[in-house]
């Protein structure tokens, strides 16, 4: 991998300093990677692509009505996170999740934070993710947000910011596990000399967390993963997690509620279900409680939940924190509940519902990123500097028609990582989505999903918009200054061993 032609440019590069030299903490691995010839790298990239198709690690694209799956492009060059930086991120994420859980619990009970004027009531009450049906709910062990995938970005200044909280059904963790498996088979020599923190125990942690939520008095709880079905874009992941945890993967029609208990239909009769890791949005969870036209959910599920006979992860109602207008108040919530300053800051956010912010956004739309408050997956979004005048004007009209539904942020200069682009290695923008489990304690999986915008210059990393992924290597400890250039790489014994 020849990086002599590589241009760091006016960006923060995760692997290299602005002078093109490897960063101190990652230099050991960076040099190892550089010792690979381009041909070796290309061979391994081909092997990786083939392995993905063969094992069917795929996602569905909604617009594709034939239900054909695509593989998520995978880039060989890992994103490396130094140990010291990771400690900082881990502490920040734990702090944020703790506060968010208190925040959600408060919103569905006493609403102190609204009464004290820290968060305006109308922001919460107008949020699509705020479900009145959830007021007064007491989820098992007082935990609402069991699984979170927080989107982080690093700006040109080298600092990490929280871009989004994903508290409903964050997806992508299966790619973290599969990417790692792939990388270990492609670069065994790197992992042999490993200072890279493992990710493989995630399913084990997830199952422990889910069992922890089971109703009292059940010694061997039955946990299931609830999927909307195989045409859902994240179906592979649902099935993957069920398999890895050794639990059943169920669809709504496999479950039935009787006497406020949840049962599943098996060949041997009905069996009780105690914990449901649901990958169906609140709106579709139970047609009795939420959307009546839902064919995916389980009628009566909320009754069973309310009666304490089944646990749901995440708890219904957590989507309120995914609202991008609510997101703007999370730093205030951290201060309010924990009396601490946020360790990882938010991206500065303009709420179009505020008159002064709205004015600013409309005047500066060409420099800002505008997002719909309730959308995800890169939909409903305008990147000012990349858009045309006409698009600016159209978006401005949409904002004026419904200011509550839009927020704006300065266009960040996302950090880049060297990426295989045809014959060359070029810098591409990345974000980072670590996964956090909240059970008996809060566990942050070391690393997370690094998404990379494969199109040159693009800032959109979503899989639905031409993004790919990279393995994320969190170092166990950072390299001491004298350990920079140890054994160079030799090719693995056989690429046939892949998967």
């Amino acid at each position: 991998m020849n990086l002599s032609e590589y241009e760091v440019g006016d960006f923060y590069d995760e692997m290299l300093e602005s002078n093109g030299m490897p960063r101190r903490a990652t230099s050991h691995l960076a040099l190892n990677l550089q010792s690979l010839s381009h041909a070796e790298l290309a061979t391994r990239q081909t092997a990786a692509d083939l392995a993905l198709v063969r094992s069917g690690i795929t996602f569905n694209v909604y617009s594709d009505n034939r239900g054909v799956e695509k593989t998520l492009p995978f880039d060989l060059i890992p994103r490396i996170v130094p140990a010291e930086e990771w400690q900082h991120l881990e502490a920040g994420l734990k702090q944020r999740i703790t506060a968010l859980n208190l925040f959600i619990d408060d919103l569905y009970h006493e609403q102190h934070i609204l009464k004290d004027g820290v968060v305006p009531s109308e922001v919460i009450l107008s949020s699509k993710g705020f479900h009145r049906q959830c007021i007064g709910l007491n989820p098992p062990r007082g935990i609402w947000c069991h699984i979170t995938g927080t989107d982080l970005v690093r700006n040109r200044d080298g600092k990490f910011y929280v871009l989004e909280d994903n508290m409903r059904c964050p997806s992508g963790v299966s790619y973290v596990l599969e990417n790692r498996r792939l990388m270990m088979s492609l670069f065994p020599e790197v992992f042999n000399a490993s200072r890279i923190r493992p990710v493989a125990n995630y399913p084990h942690r997830l199952r422990d967390m889910l069992e922890y939520l089971a109703p009292e008095g059940i010694s061997n709880p039955r946990v299931v993963v609830l999927t909307p079905g195989m045409y859902n874009s994240a179906y592979f992941e649902h099935s993957f997690l069920a398999r890895q945890m050794g639990v059943e993967l169920v669809e709504g029609s496999d479950l039935v509620v009787a006497d406020d208990y949840v049962w599943m239909r098996t060949t041997g009769g009905f069996e009780r279900v105690d914990v449901i890791y649901r990958r169906i949005d609140d709106d579709f969870l139970d047609p009795e409680a939420f959307r009546k036209d839902s064919m995916l959910g389980v009628p009566g599920l909320m009754r069973a939940y309310r009666a304490g006979n089944v646990a749901l992860a995440n708890a219904p109602g957590t989507g309120v924190a995914d609202d991008k207008a609510v997101y703007a108040y999370v730093p205030d919530a951290i201060k309010y509940y924990l009396k601490q300053d946020p360790i990882i800051p938010n991206v500065p956010t303009y709420l179009c519902s505020r008159q002064s912010d709205l004015q600013y956004v409309l005047e500066n739309i060409a420099q800002l990123v505008v997002k719909a408050a309730n959308e995800s997956g890169g939909y409903g979004m305008l990147i000012g500097p990349k858009a045309t005048k006409k698009e600016h004007a159209e978006f401005a009209e949409r904002i004026k028609a419904n200011p509550r539904n839009y927020i704006a942020q300065p266009t960040l200069s996302l950090s880049r990582v060297p990426t295989v682009c045809g014959e060359n290695i070029e810098g591409r923008h990345v974000d980072l989505r670590p996964y956090i489990l909240y059970g008996k304690e809060i566990f942050v999986q070391p690393g997370g999903l690094t998404r990379v915008a494969l199109r040159k210059g693009s800032l959109v990393v979503n899989s639905s918009q031409g993004g790919g992924t990279k393995d994320t290597w969190v170092l166990d400890h950072d390299a001491p200054p004298n350990e920079t250039n140890s054994a160079a790489l030799t090719p693995p014994p056989s690429l046939a061993a892949v998967c």
Partner: protein, 331 residues
């Protein structure tokens, strides 16, 4: 096990077996065309064997080698084409990946992708024989991997039951169709062409060599005996039903050798007992077509019974909720 999953497993292996059988029919017919340079008439019975002749006639009209092969291999509108079968099998596999082994999924996925890619190429099949050989190979590999990597528990038994019922169905259909056609051309009975035709029937069930060892001379009576009543040849109707019965008993937990008490078990037990008792002369006396027709009806009834017992979506009655099995130890 979830009822939905059981159903998917059952159909997954049925579809793989079906794809294999279609490949067999077509391949043998291709060989026949070389040995017996005759008319296009040879191709219509093939469509009849899979039971889709109405759809075929609507789409293609008169059967030619090319249209029949296209219809049976790559036609996406034909639910029983090789491509459609493997797609359905793969969809079922995709929805049961947490039950099956990764090896099974990877093989089936690769198998499907091979056929889909071949179908996508224009003028796709240069070498028909090696294509059909790969289909048979793919199916055999799938069975082998299934047997070698999956626990032989309930899920495996549902899969074997599906495979065996499908195979029994197809063996009887090919015999039915060929017999009908062969007997109709009475002037050819006993002629060399007739013998070649019967050999083709055996070949399409990979039965030619095994038949030779058992019976030697080509004799319609013995062929019927071998394909329908043999208890050791793995594609024979009776063999398949006996295996299906063993799996059904295992699913119910009925001890080996005992008669089952459930409706589908009793049906299958009776069927197996009848096949053990009946002689080939009796079959011919009563009419082979009638005999096979009757068996097909029995298979359909069996399928319905299995569906009713395990797979139908029922709702628990809250009034008897306390009698619901709280946890199944077998899981």
């Amino acid at each position: 096990m979830l009822s939905r999953v059981a159903e998917s497993l059952f159909w997954m292996s049925r579809y793989v077996e079906r794809a294999e059988n279609v490949a067999r029919f077509v391949d043998v017919n291709l060989n026949l065309m070389l040995e017996v340079p005759s008319s296009e008439q040879q191709w219509l019975p093939l469509v009849a064997t899979t039971g889709d002749h109405e759809l075929f006639e609507k789409k293609y009209g008169a059967p030619t080698q090319e249209s029949v092969i296209r219809f049976l291999t790559f036609d996406e509108e034909n639910p029983n084409s090789i491509l459609s079968c493997l797609r359905a099998a793969r969809e079922n596999a995709r929805s049961t990946r947490e039950i099956t082994s990764s090896e099974m999924w990877e093989q089936l996925n690769t198998f499907y992708l091979f056929v889909a890619e071949t179908a996508a190429r224009a003028d796709s099949i240069a070498d028909l024989h090696s294509f059909f050989a790969r289909i048979k190979d793919g199916s055999h590999t799938f069975c082998g991997i299934t047997d070698a990597t999956m626990t032989h528990g309930q899920a495996w038994h549902f899969m074997r039951m599906g495979r065996m019922i499908e195979r029994a169905d197809k063996t009887s259909r090919i015999l039915d169709v060929k017999y009908f056609i062969l007997l109709r051309s009475a002037q050819e009975v006993g002629s060399p062409i007739d013998e070649i035709q019967w050999a083709a029937v055996l070949r399409s069930a990979s039965a030619f060599e095994m038949y030779r060892k058992r019976h030697g001379r080509i004799e319609p009576k013995n062929i019927i005996q071998f394909l329908m009543l043999d208890n050791e040849f793995p594609r024979a109707f009776r063999f398949c039903l006996n295996r299906a019965r063993n799996s059904l008993h295992a699913i119910f937990g009925t001890p080996l050798g005992e008669r089952g008490r459930s409706e589908p078990e009793r049906l299958l037990d009776d069927l197996c007992a009848n096949l053990a008792a009946i002689g080939v002369e009796q079959i011919i006396a009563g009419g082979i077509h009638e005999f096979i027709d009757n068996l097909q009806a029995n298979l359909n009834e069996l399928g319905a019974g299995i569906y009713e017992t395990f797979l139908a979506r029922r709702t628990p009655n809250p009034a008897v909720a306390d009698r619901l099995p709280v946890r199944d130890a077998a899981q």
